[in-house]
Symmetry: C2
Subunit: 278 residues, 2 copies
């Protein structure tokens, strides 16, 4: 019997009677605070669009996914409605809307391509290097987190995340002020990384605002992820940073490297600070 990895179960879809619709179930295990993790929602939207655009034009890999978060996604059933916006020769684009009942949770616009046909050579120009960290076994896993945090963020049990030791000072009341988070990430069950998993990966680290001494989660208003190559099997390395915290908003950038030192994903999000409700 095949074993389906937890992540693949979480983004599994079934068709509705409406040909542009899918049914999904948002598992409580992917919650942090009261909401489902934004990265999981992006992977879910990406999965639906990958079905549509992969079949229609062979463009099954997301290269740019933009999501605007409209209301809190709660554990439970959801629908994903898709619309093909364009079928091109090398790229295709689509829209996805995730709803729960009448409440729209996320609106996504995305552009897809076929990365398998492209990922051949080394990056032509890379102006960023992977984070320099101790190996995963010398980093700080979720099992070190206080039980109260794990209860608040059960998605930490769904991923194998190891924070670099220099990035956990905030948890001990001593943020570094560098506004940087670095860590290792993989899925359990030997589930190898792929473009959909990278859509999740960019949203797993704690917000860099913690490293500035700003307490609390930072609710995402918008998150755009670029998938730049098919990732090799093995651990991913993540680095998050910010350039500007201003007017209660923060931009946060993530970079993801695969086990061959290739920069395989980049993301940027706009979050709001200090205001969990709107």
């Amino acid at each position: 019997m095949n074993h389906t990895a937890e992540f693949d179960q979480a983004i599994s879809l079934s068709r509705t009677e409406d040909p542009s619709g899918y049914r999904a179930d948002l598992g409580d295990g992917w919650r942090f605070g009261t909401s489902i993790l934004g990265g999981l929602l992006m992977a879910l939207a990406g999965r639906a669009l990958s079905e549509d655009l992969g079949k229609a034009s062979g463009h099954g890999d997301p290269v740019s996914v933009s999501a605007h978060f409209l209301s809190r996604s709660l554990p439970g059933p959801a629908t994903v409605r898709t619309e093909t916006l364009r079928q091109g020769r090398t790229v295709s684009s689509g829209m996805a809307s995730i709803k729960q009942g009448d409440h729209e949770r996320v609106r996504v616009v995305a552009t897809f391509a076929d990365l398998a046909g492209k990922t051949t050579a080394k990056p032509a120009w890379a102006f960023s290097a992977p984070p320099n960290m101790p190996p995963p076994e010398k980093c700080v896993g979720s099992e070190m987190a206080p039980p109260s945090l794990l209860k608040e963020a059960p998605f930490l049990d769904r991923v194998d995340l190891r924070l670099a030791p220099e990035c956990v000072g905030w948890a001990l009341g001593a943020p570094s002020g560098q506004a940087t988070m670095q860590g290792w990430l993989r899925l359990p069950d030997d589930r190898a990384p792929d473009p959909l998993m990278l859509l999740l990966a960019v949203d797993c680290l704690p917000p860099v605002s913690l490293d500035l001494g700003i307490p609390g989660w930072a609710p995402t208003l918008e998150l755009t992820t670029h998938i730049r190559a098919l990732p090799a099997p093995g651990w991913l390395r993540l680095r998050h940073s910010t350039t500007l915290v201003d007017n209660d908003f923060m931009e946060e950038d993530a970079e993801v490297w695969d086990s061959t030192d290739r920069l395989v994903a980049q993301s940027r999000q706009l979050t709001r600070l200090g205001r969990p409700d709107s």
Copy 2:
């Protein structure tokens, strides 16, 4: 008689019979190559959503605008269809679609707020400094460009753009390899910068790929801009850079500072290299 600045004429809208629709005209003067400048299309979509969301909830300022470019926008009439996705207490979101005839050109999702009520203090944390450049009069204006370029990119006559001298080596066959473009920007007619103008500003510099010796324009697949504060009057300073050029795709980041040294806009786009058609 009031004088309407060229930029404001270019993004002026009239209502259609459909309450969610606007009519616009894409002026040939905002063309580069065969297409209308992406930044102008984003300002046009931003203007339509600002009408809708500003009236409905007082959130008239774009804070995050994500655009996926579907086909080439040509000079001539266009329609902008909008949809309000969410009206919140501090932010509201909407969708805009720009079409010419049956051809959708751009699909936009955006989140708006009221920046006037927010822009009070200095940035809390800024990890980036404005570019160090000679004053505008010592930089390289479009009047120095070869007439063939101006004919190909007439939008350069609509803006006052001055490139830093160290960023024009590519035009002389000697790209610096730094993958950086820096310059000053303002609109003629003393038209002060505002959030809509910032949506244009992030898309005015030549692609940084030129500075790597890669010839040609870099067609934008997706462009997301964050407006972080209302800009002060005066010249803007722009810096564009890239972190990764890979698999025929390039990500390009822009930062925009106002005359008070405040970082007022950030953008990131995914472009394709060497393939003008899709």
